[in-house]
Symmetry: C2
Subunit: 249 residues, 2 copies
Amino acid sequence: MAGSSTKRRPYQVAETIKRWIVEKQLKPGDRLPGEAELMERLGVSKGTVRESTRVLEAQGLVETRTGPGGGAFVHAMSEARAISLLSHYLFFQDISIRDIYQIRLALEPELAASLAGRVSPEDMSRLRASLESYADTARDEEEERQQHLDSLNFHLMLAELSGGNPLLCFIIRFTTQVLSDLTIYRRLYEPATHDLGRTGCRFHAELLDAIEAGDAEQARRIMHEHMLSAQAVMNTQEAQVRRDFLSEA
Amino acid sequence: MAGSSTKRRPYQVAETIKRWIVEKQLKPGDRLPGEAELMERLGVSKGTVRESTRVLEAQGLVETRTGPGGGAFVHAMSEARAISLLSHYLFFQDISIRDIYQIRLALEPELAASLAGRVSPEDMSRLRASLESYADTARDEEEERQQHLDSLNFHLMLAELSGGNPLLCFIIRFTTQVLSDLTIYRRLYEPATHDLGRTGCRFHAELLDAIEAGDAEQARRIMHEHMLSAQAVMNTQEAQVRRDFLSEA
DNA sequence: CTAGCCCGGAGGCCTGACCACCGCTTTGTC
DNA sequence: GACAAAGCGGTGGTCAGGCCTCCGGGCTAG
């Protein structure tokens, strides 16, 4: 009797611990009970406790350290890990480049606008410096790919700087990540895209000017055009996003 | 010696299995080696194999069944689970209502536009029928909350119908889910929001007309105004999203 | 005062046994 | 002969206990 567990023990234990985290309002770095104590308090064996810990670890909620003073600690999931987990979801969905750009087209201009007049001079020079690497037309395929990665990285930096909206930042970084992986795993940029770097650089430069001037509307418009331009190029490429896991966090 | 494991065994095993899934192009429903076979082929103990299986399960990649013919099977993560995992990430981030609406403001109009002229008559009537429940001003707080949930559900249905862009659909559903949870866990809609349902209903009705007429620009514009209107109301409310886990998938 | 050793407590991994579950086969009855 | 009930067997699920590894901090030797 009693027993009855629609779910398996490790998950029951994991749920219990999650509840503790919420109820006790534990913060990252706070320590959870040790294996021995959990065994005793929950009446389960060591193996079960360990499995539940792996579950929480996999979900990015806790982190374990060995040695004295070790144990399980509440942990704020890294963005990289979140991206990885989300990519697991999309692994069996069919995402096309067009899908990615539909998102970027809507969000990147928003991000650009929100950045207008809010970037420090130091960051501004860092951004401008990064443009160098793809200012000229690429000479070979290898350089071209690297340019595209640098160009994507520019958007990553913008997202980083915004800081204001974690969710917006996350989504943009995710889409960028997907596009980066595409360039790594596939030869996507072969025909007639040699100027993509230079074109992108021009857009980026204009965008920085608008941002520096604090002209939100102008920044939004430029980014919008930039995305349209990039989308037009990408649409001529492969339609189907490669099914692959992203790098593990 | 030899050994050397920057990572711990269960994760190495999990990575290996992931690699198998990618390399062998396994699809949901395909069976993975049993515990005994994994123990032998990878030279690890049962406990380690089980921990790695819990990890993959937690990440939504596999599912296990007991009994004869049971075992671990490749599994497509449900959207609900993906949302749950993503909420784990945002648990320690500070998300404001404003952040949510910045996303909605950018994406929902896009969705609406992409739907113009592409909704079947049956779905159209289902959508129109759903408007009934919040056409009138709410009489009490309870009804008001229910109206808001129904109203949010309308957006969920739209996302569902689009179907075209899994990522867009996911993001919209996620943001909607967050807003729904807010209404459940907090008393958010107290002061002067009694007409929110009716106002929303009007927007929704106009939107459906535009979609039916196939007028993408009009649909985009209406949704944009709708979001602005809703954002204006929400901005007067609590700024900080409650830190809580969403329902477990 | 510093460098090094050493202790002890925490998780990490393994072994081996037994339990719970459930599709399939066998058996029994009408 | 057909259908239902009983049970086999293989699979994951859980438990118990043991030994190994790691590492911070205290203690000791230089």
